[in-house]
Amino acid sequence: MKRKTLILTTILGLFAFTNHSGGIYKTNTGNISFYSHTPVEDISAENHKVKTAFSTESGQLQFSCLIKDFEFKKALMQEHFNENYMESTTYPKATFNGKIESISSIDFSKDGTYSSKVNGKLTIKNVTQDVATTGTFVVTNGVVNAKATFNLNPYDYNVKIPKMVAPKISESIKITINSDYTHRH
């Protein structure tokens, strides 16, 4: 009887430890912006409703955002972006599924600044490409702010840009991610 109790206590203890040390950090209000610079024109847009989460155990990092939710300063640019280039009614989302490589080096219980390589697959317009960058993770009172930037070429994601406007759109668009994650479970 004593032995059974001991085994049960050990299993429960291990389960409790696993839950405590691991967990999911999440937000539905992450920010993604992009910036295209050419001598002809600068174009930028922001999205403040990015759904994103990561696991402190596996380092898996995911996000999903709606293309139509990118807001431009100029309404006409926003219209052209959605209707002509991104076809956002047909391809409504951009998603990322990847990994924070050095997740084990980040102490989520201690305030501090950490950095890690992030690798994964970015899907836009049903085209998936590998993406690699370095993310900065700032832990403050249990909130994790993650920042990362990388560049992408719109032509790699089947974005068709008419020749007439091509000089206005960069082939290296800077993507900036900035999200505050809180512990969920």
């Binding site: 209000t29 989460a53 995911q62 999903s64 139509k68 100029k74 009614t89 505050d180 809180t182």
Partner: protein, 148 residues
Amino acid sequence: MKKIALLSISFVILCVLLFVYRMFNKPHTNVKESQAAKLISAKQLFDYFDRNEDSAMVEFSDQIIQINGTLLSKDLSNELEPQIILKTNDTEGFIRCGFKPSELQNIEILKDSSTVNLKGICKGMNGDDELTLLEDKDVILSSSIIIE
């Protein structure tokens, strides 16, 4: 005769330039001043997207929608776009409504579980079955305003 022709051509060119300038600088949709294209409950809107996202996108996206529902919670974690979440029949499905920061005062006075009427531009449904960490799904409205 030549002078009249020259004046006419100049006038036409001026009109074209003015039209191009106005098109290029046209303002974003003013939700407050615009009539809602559809009036629907939060539960019905989520059901449409959950049943068939493709056809719901065609029917609702980019439309100004007037929606009523029960407030689950306020999410003021992003000061660039304060948000509220409305309940649906699905425990893992919500309506997430984003507001301009100037609307913050109108959101702060809302009480959880109260009925909310608002207008906003429907953007689609965020979330992905393959991204398991994200768990739930949100139908997104932007540039929302609370209706008294």
